[in-house]
């Protein structure tokens, strides 16, 4: 039946509108996909060139904003001295330690509260109260507790990371479709299998969103902590530079912080794309 309809309608259609040749199917946009991409990179490049130009002409005082080339040169010198990489290393270590500690605590608490009404009654209100405090307000107290040691900075990062992970874990677990849990009961899954196969994977999109947010918070916490009190790390590099009015070094540290932020966000994106290949919102480039 449907074949008959097709064989009837095709020639009619073809006679009305002649089959378009492939070359003129669409009017091309002004620039095309590549053109727009190039343009989007061209703008920051031109701004950078302008910055360099004004700095060289002396319109921009080097005390205010040194030329990008000068910043690059400074980076090179600091690498040669060995200071830049060791400072970068100690900053990264702090961030990772804080992220792992805060992330674990947030995840464990979130899982408990997500699963158990009792845990929720015991923990959730207190956690929410502490969360209401802007964690940076605790900074003076942290300095009193830990001095300028590693502990204080790791603590501050942990504190900042913990809450987004906690909240998103609870939310993720609560959002699981109850019909899937019913299915698991009908099939006779053990509690362990239920958690492993249904609850945690179902909560993962929400948890990963928490991770991405937590990464940004981690860097913010680290910048603040290192700027206030430290004797190693990118923040201390910036503080030392401030005393000697080395704006080139200061600009360099800002660029490094920005770079780390971009890289960590990219890592989080890759994680999402790999772990959430099943999810329609993340599946643009999956094979299937």
């Amino acid at each position: 039946m449907s074949e008959a309809v097709n064989s009837l309608s095709t020639p009619t259609l073809a006679s009305v509108t002649p089959a378009p040749s492939t070359a003129v199917v669409k009017t091309p946009p002004v620039l095309g996909e590549r053109g727009f991409l190039a343009l989007s990179w061209l703008v920051p490049f031109v701004l950078l060139l302008a910055w360099e130009g004004f700095a060289r002409l002396g319109t921009l005082s080097p005390q205010v904003l040194p030329a990008p080339s000068k910043v690059l040169l400074t980076a090179w010198n600091l690498i040669q001295e060995g200071r830049l990489l060791s400072d970068l290393g100690s900053s990264l270590l702090r961030a990772i330690a804080g992220f792992v500690i805060g992330g674990s605590v947030g995840f464990i608490l979130g899982t408990l509260v997500g699963f158990s009404r009792l845990a929720e009654a015991l923990l959730d209100r207190s956690v929410q109260m502490v969360r209401a405090v802007p964690f940076l307000a605790a900074l003076p107290l942290v300095i009193v507790w830990f001095g300028v040691d590693e502990g204080g900075k790791v603590f501050l990062v942990s504190l900042g990371v913990m809450f987004p992970i906690y909240i998103n874990t609870v939310l993720g677990i609560r959002q699981i479709d109850p019909k899937l849990i019913e299915l698991a009961r009908v099939i006779g899954l053990s509690n362990r299998t239920l958690i492993r196969r249904i609850i945690l994977p179902g909560a993962l999109p929400s948890i990963l969103a928490g991770v991405r947010y937590a990464l940004a918070v981690a860097w913010l916490a680290l910048v603040i902590a290192e700027t206030i009190a430290t004797n190693s790390g990118i923040g201390s590099l910036a503080m030392d530079a401030r005393e000697f009015l080395r704006t080139d070094v200061i600009v360099l540290t800002i660029v490094i912080y920005a770079g780390i932020g971009v890289v960590s966000d990219a890592i989080a994106r890759v994680l999402e794309r790999r772990l959430l290949a099943w999810h329609p919102n993340y599946a643009r480039r999956s094979a299937l």
């Binding site: 019909k179 698991a184 009908v186 899954l189 196969r197 994977p201 179902g202 959430l276 099943w278 599946a283």
Partner: protein, 242 residues
């Protein structure tokens, strides 16, 4: 239970229910219901909304506790719900083998998916399936366990008419091959006559009528016996049109 054919009575029943009672608070939903389904027998359960069909099915599936009576049957019958309830983050074969041993699960899942005509999609994600395909995966997931009892809770209600016709043929074929006892809860009188060996009408928490469908009547809607049964069932359900 003396009405249906003798072939079913040789084997032990897939499930037998004696004097089942189920209450929600003060309200009695099922009162003293008895029912037996033989292995390989296809029973359809018709009834208006709220008559206790779904409650009966949930009790049989072990999802809800019962307040009285006895259910002798498998602890974990296979259930197909109105929605496919596939796990979106598992590829099809992992959905089908859910709850099976990881190593033996994949070949079993592959065979089950081949049976429902999706053998080439075992690594695909559920989001890429149409409604009918997803419901076929749910059928494969139910049958991969070779259940003694298969409970179908209006599994075709959400499908379009053509897909539903194809699903009817597939279910018939699968049930003939695997021979579980089947209880199909449905609103659709034609579907019940077409698929079932026996049609039960449920009213106010009890079985109000029981009809054996002859082989010929189940074959064709135009068969006079099928038409007569259809009229009769519609009257029973209070939906007859003058």
């Amino acid at each position: 239970m003396t009405t249906h054919t003798t072939t079913h009575e040789i084997e032990s029943p897939a499930v037998s229910v004696h004097g089942l009672r189920r209450r929600y608070g003060e309200r009695t939903v099922i009162s003293g219901l008895s029912l037996q389904i033989a292995r390989g027998e296809f029973v359809a359960l018709l009834g208006e909304s709220g008559c206790g069909k779904t409650t009966l099915l949930r009790a049989l599936s072990g999802l809800d506790a019962i307040d009285g009576g006895r259910i002798d049957g498998p602890k974990l019958p296979a259930v197909v719900f109105q929605e496919p309830r596939l796990i979106p983050w598992d590829p099809l074969w992992r959905n089908v083998s859910l709850g099976l041993d990881d190593r033996s699960g994949k070949p079993l899942a592959r065979a089950a998916l081949e049976e429902v005509g999706l053998g080439d999609r075992i690594d695909d994600w559920p989001r890429n399936l149409s409604g009918g395909q997803a419901q076929r995966v749910a059928l494969a997931r139910a049958l991969v366990r070779e259940p003694r009892l298969l409970l179908l809770d209006e599994p075709f209600a959400a499908l379009d008419a053509l897909t539903r016709i194809r699903m009817h043929a597939l279910v018939r074929q699968l049930v003939a091959r695997h021979r579980p006892g089947v209880l199909l809860v449905t609103h659709d009188v034609d579907e019940a006559i077409l698929l079932a060996d026996r049609v039960l009408v449920m009213r106010a928490g009890a079985i109000a009528g029981e009809y054996v469908v002859s082989h010929e009547a189940g074959r064709s809607r135009a068969h006079p016996e099928a038409q007569e049964l259809r009229e009769h069932l519609l009257v029973e359900l209070g939906a007859a049109v003058e």
